[in-house]
Symmetry: D2
Subunit: 262 residues, 4 copies
Amino acid sequence: MSDEYLVKEGSKVLIYIDGRRKRVINVRKDGKFESDKGVLLYKDIIEKPYGSKVTLSTGYRAYLLDPLITDYLMHGYKRATQVIYPKDLGFIALLSGISSGSIVVEGGTGTGFLTSVLAHYVRPNGKVFTYEVREEFLEIAKKNLRMSGLDKFVVYKNKDIRKGIDEKEVDAVFLDIPDPWNALDAVYKALKPSKPFIAFLPTVNQIEKLYMALRNHGGFIDFHAYELMLRELQVEPGKVRPQTLMIAHTGYVVFTRKVIKE
Amino acid sequence: MSDEYLVKEGSKVLIYIDGRRKRVINVRKDGKFESDKGVLLYKDIIEKPYGSKVTLSTGYRAYLLDPLITDYLMHGYKRATQVIYPKDLGFIALLSGISSGSIVVEGGTGTGFLTSVLAHYVRPNGKVFTYEVREEFLEIAKKNLRMSGLDKFVVYKNKDIRKGIDEKEVDAVFLDIPDPWNALDAVYKALKPSKPFIAFLPTVNQIEKLYMALRNHGGFIDFHAYELMLRELQVEPGKVRPQTLMIAHTGYVVFTRKVIKE
Amino acid sequence: MSDEYLVKEGSKVLIYIDGRRKRVINVRKDGKFESDKGVLLYKDIIEKPYGSKVTLSTGYRAYLLDPLITDYLMHGYKRATQVIYPKDLGFIALLSGISSGSIVVEGGTGTGFLTSVLAHYVRPNGKVFTYEVREEFLEIAKKNLRMSGLDKFVVYKNKDIRKGIDEKEVDAVFLDIPDPWNALDAVYKALKPSKPFIAFLPTVNQIEKLYMALRNHGGFIDFHAYELMLRELQVEPGKVRPQTLMIAHTGYVVFTRKVIKE
Amino acid sequence: MSDEYLVKEGSKVLIYIDGRRKRVINVRKDGKFESDKGVLLYKDIIEKPYGSKVTLSTGYRAYLLDPLITDYLMHGYKRATQVIYPKDLGFIALLSGISSGSIVVEGGTGTGFLTSVLAHYVRPNGKVFTYEVREEFLEIAKKNLRMSGLDKFVVYKNKDIRKGIDEKEVDAVFLDIPDPWNALDAVYKALKPSKPFIAFLPTVNQIEKLYMALRNHGGFIDFHAYELMLRELQVEPGKVRPQTLMIAHTGYVVFTRKVIKE
């Protein structure tokens, strides 16, 4: 195993105890991880390989994992706002068609979940330009993206995206704001022809309003409004069943794309 | 608009007529597109910009779009097998944590849907090693990936992944084969510690069997079995409702990750 | 087995061949049942007990079953309109609290599915008063309910329920019409205090409009809007999985109940 | 309004404060209802009509409602076991085809939810024979059914239904026990030919095992395994959306029916 796959000072590590106890930590020589299952001193994990089993102060076992993007989101980031969950993030990213090198614009940075996923996929040569009117959210998002190392692929703008998008010929625009219909001129001007505009919206009324505005505006085709429901199965041998509770609704994903207006 | 955003001979174009009539074509000077709504000669679209409106022989309108990855999958690829749909593909890709530069292994190339999404995300410096025992599927997958331009990021192997994985220290392993439990040794050896193994399985019994094999094998933690249901809304102003029919089941996504066995 | 459990001339029988081939027939001495699996002469089934296996002209087997209420609906009734399916019918009936002896009012007879379920539950001493403006639907519904023997518990009214309900102190009102908000005065006057009013509506906009009208009208509390999704499992030993396709949406069930206005 | 629609001593009343505060009470002259929104003395509601608005000690308003069957279940009954919810109860009842006068058998009384719904629909001349091995559950169920007034339509048996069903020629058998496959002989003997047997089961493995046992046993056809998912909409004008959390799984409904074995 190569050197760089050892935990070092400054490494990020997902401490995995069990399904409910996972946390992404930033390894500092003098820090420690505390949980109801025991304590772990960071100095004791430095130089251990990722994937190792370690023992908490109580004798309880834990694992040191190299965090995945979803670990950062779900077990590392501080939340400032409602977030978009992985089920929707993966779908949004795939529908948008973006990949390494893409130039994308996001309105409504919020906690930075979608920002992170976009940055994760467009790196190292692409860029995410993210607009957020509330500076306090932008600060939290920045801190979150610094943790996951995605910060350097993002340009943060403390601006109202409805008033205009500075970038041109972008590969996709994403809006997670309450009134995306007020940003359609900006969106249209920023997008390359044939490229997608995707909005995330919690209510049916917003979808309806957005559709009407899109049709009114012209220059958009291929409308879709999707909802994803995620169920997790409980798999105990001989007792397989869907989990009792599920998040039944977070929001709808609206997809459309730009064509040249005549 | 820059030059390269014009349709050229050899370009791929999504001809978009309406929600039910979309097809990705490969532009050849002497070719033509035929549909129940009319005919389009390819020579008439060369040098037109992407995003343009064109007129079919019948007077019906269509649009020339730069295909997104999902357009290639859904409206371009020839299908040889059951496929994994975008709702699951986006989720699988995100859960796996892969991005540009990742080295990944796939077992069960099939039609090449997942292969394409993996290649799309790991390019330009990453690589997908895909194993398929049936040569005829591999040929179809290759042809599909050549269409989408993703072919160069893939190494095709006409081999049984259950008998071994040649690659080492890979960032993720994906299996879409009926008996993934028979490939666990190979999977374990190939993966970097802390990295994910993801399987796609249509039946509950396969999930149960895989879980039991994973627990027996040891060296895997953080088990999840997910199911995604996708509903599309019909959005006519004043008449918003979910679509009547939906694909209620394709398969389950099983996620786990490797830890170091003692 | 007692005499009356034999098939007689005039009996209704569910001919059950397999999951896709079921039909409720009315036994006439000289009639016959025809299917792609063979023919069955009714004279050959008279005096056979319900539950018997019989042989079609082709040698294929079938069963003679005493039809359940859902068999009449799904495999006997002629459809004139969109119908409410059993998943919603059972829920609507239970929520309404009706049982033997209840006096209920329905607006929008349509094909008579809900009418039948209501009659089925209120018999023998209760009564269903059903309003339908389109006489041709009423004729089809009557014919359907005569088949299932539920006809005698129903009073058919070729009237517009929005203009008034003749009955007073009823135990529940059910509306399956496009604009239930236009019938609220009639509904309110007909209902016993504390009894439910239930509407079945396909679109979200109708729900919203009905809620606003109910709140405006006053005298209604305990609002609920439900959606039921039904999935069927395919159960082959060792291969259990949800069915691929499902009816994802038929309509929403809106529930409320009357209180005394001051 | 007729006399008997007034609240009397001994009446059951649903005190409705709001969506989260509902309780079915038994009116005793000297009793009182206590909630976090205030107190209501029962003596103050005697002789008030059902549907009235009353005022709690705090000035907060509440309504006096005549309880529906689902109010008794959800806001009146004491729970001793996992219960079957209204979404499944309505569907099970409708599928079974039972109505006033039916003679039905239930195995696994538990808290008495299904017992109550069956009694509710078969009354006044039908009967529910319910088997339960645990006497303490039977006591709770009896107390529950006395509250809803359904007690007199039920015969309680502190017996193991797997060892035999005393009744013959019954219209339907319902099992909510962990191992229904061990009761198939008893079920088969008790049922009228062509009548349904319905089981409620939480896990996929139980469904599979039951199907195999049914096929092995013979004499059953028309197999179905259903799952119902209930979503409630939040309907605030201009902000309609599905509720965030939902009960994603309670159990599966297995349906089959008896034919004559040769």
